[in-house]
Symmetry: C2
Subunit: 214 residues, 2 copies
DNA sequence: GTCTATACGAGGATAGAC
DNA sequence: GTCTATCCTCGTATAGAC
């Protein structure tokens, strides 16, 4: 099944041997597994089972479990990281910069809801040893600067920039962590459906912007 | 070392055999291990090593790894759960109720900073299968009711109670998750030191109360 | 590049002495 | 109640055929 999709995606109907496609399939499955279980508790067997390819392919392409994990971390973070950098937030007023930052952050994690739990596991289990770039920290710094400017200019309350940066991140990201536990709401709404994700973004932004203003 | 402390705590200097003390020591060590690694990735050997007692004691008192895990979940949640229930929040105005709720929540998790990560591992890894009471869900319900009252009475904004309840929890709890990754701030401040915890509580409460008000 | 079969080590759990 | 020694399953990783 996965093999079929793999071949079709690249326009090949005959040859099942396709290095790039196989790697992509493994990475996708690994992302899911690592997001739920973290590095140690993740099982390479489970990852292989999801892909449909043999377990040994993981070792062929990524050397070992750790290599695969690092690849997943790299790939997951790069999108968020680059997006935030490209925003050029210094050129906007603190209020606008904050809103732009939040929109970008929430858009990224809405497109890849696994990212927060991956970050979470890496932070708690491994204390960041596998991911030096430690994007959560760098991103936090970006946020701290925005808050500091806003306070200096008098548009934000007298809040602690460092503490508030963490709390703001929590407001945005916690939603995606609870997902596993709540999944089924009374009305059969899924927490990760498009409407709910958009609603979450709206609510989080409103809560934060209202919360920091004077 | 741990054995010494155990004996002294109960006032016995001779007999090292003390069922209650041994159980308590194991529970404490298990709480730490499960908080960092979750159920699957936690190692019983590591727990035993921290306590100083033999690994087989875990199985003697708690049957197996799962039994120990459930005991830890039970014990960790009960404090928070009971505290929230005792608040009798219906008797207060929405604003006061919300503040009381937040103070109690933040006090509980500040006293036991491991609780949030234990909850999150259980939610993400095991999707709540080991903890039916699912306190995070019940507590969320309490919060939803407060928000609904506040909106109806016109003291809170027109926010979505369900979404906002999750986001508010995130504002309070995310701090404790990042702990593992950040631990050392520039000035050598520890995230879990008393002053920092109090500051976090203040900042979180301020952000939320300001954020929900009209 | 991909598969099957297997070696090997780590960690959960038990037996039995004290 | 506590310890040491041991069993055995499970999961990582490799070997080798196709």
């Amino acid at each position: 099944m996965a093999r079929q999709a793999k071949a079709e995606k690249v326009g090949k109907t005959k040859s099942v041997r396709d290095a790039e496609a196989t790697q992509a399939v493994i990475l996708a499955a690994a992302e899911e597994e690592f997001a739920q279980h973290g590095f140690i508790a993740a099982r390479t067997e489970a990852i292989a089972a999801k892909t449909g390819v043999a377990k040994s392919m993981i070792y062929y392409y990524f050397k070992d479990k750790e290599g695969l994990y690092k690849s997943v971390l790299e790939r997951s973070h790069s999108d968020l990281w680059q997006t935030i950098q490209q925003l050029d937030l210094d050129h906007f007023s603190p209020e606008v910069a904050l809103e732009k930052f939040l929109i970008a952050l929430l858009d990224c994690v809405s497109r890849n809801p696994k990212l927060p739990t991956i970050m979470f596991h890496e932070a708690v289990q491994n204390q960041g040893k596998y991911y030096k770039h430690s994007s959560s920290l760098s991103i936090d710094t970006t946020l701290v600067k925005i808050l500091e400017r806003g306070i200096a200019e008098g548009v934000f309350r007298q809040l602690d920039p460092f503490q508030s940066a963490i709390n703001i991140m929590g407001t945005c990201l916690f939603y995606f962590i609870g997902t596993g536990n709540i999944q089924q709401l009374p009305q059969g709404k899924r927490l990760l459906s498009k409407v709910m994700l958009e609603q979450h973004a709206q609510e989080a932004i409103a809560l934060i912007l209202t919360g920091v203003r004077k």
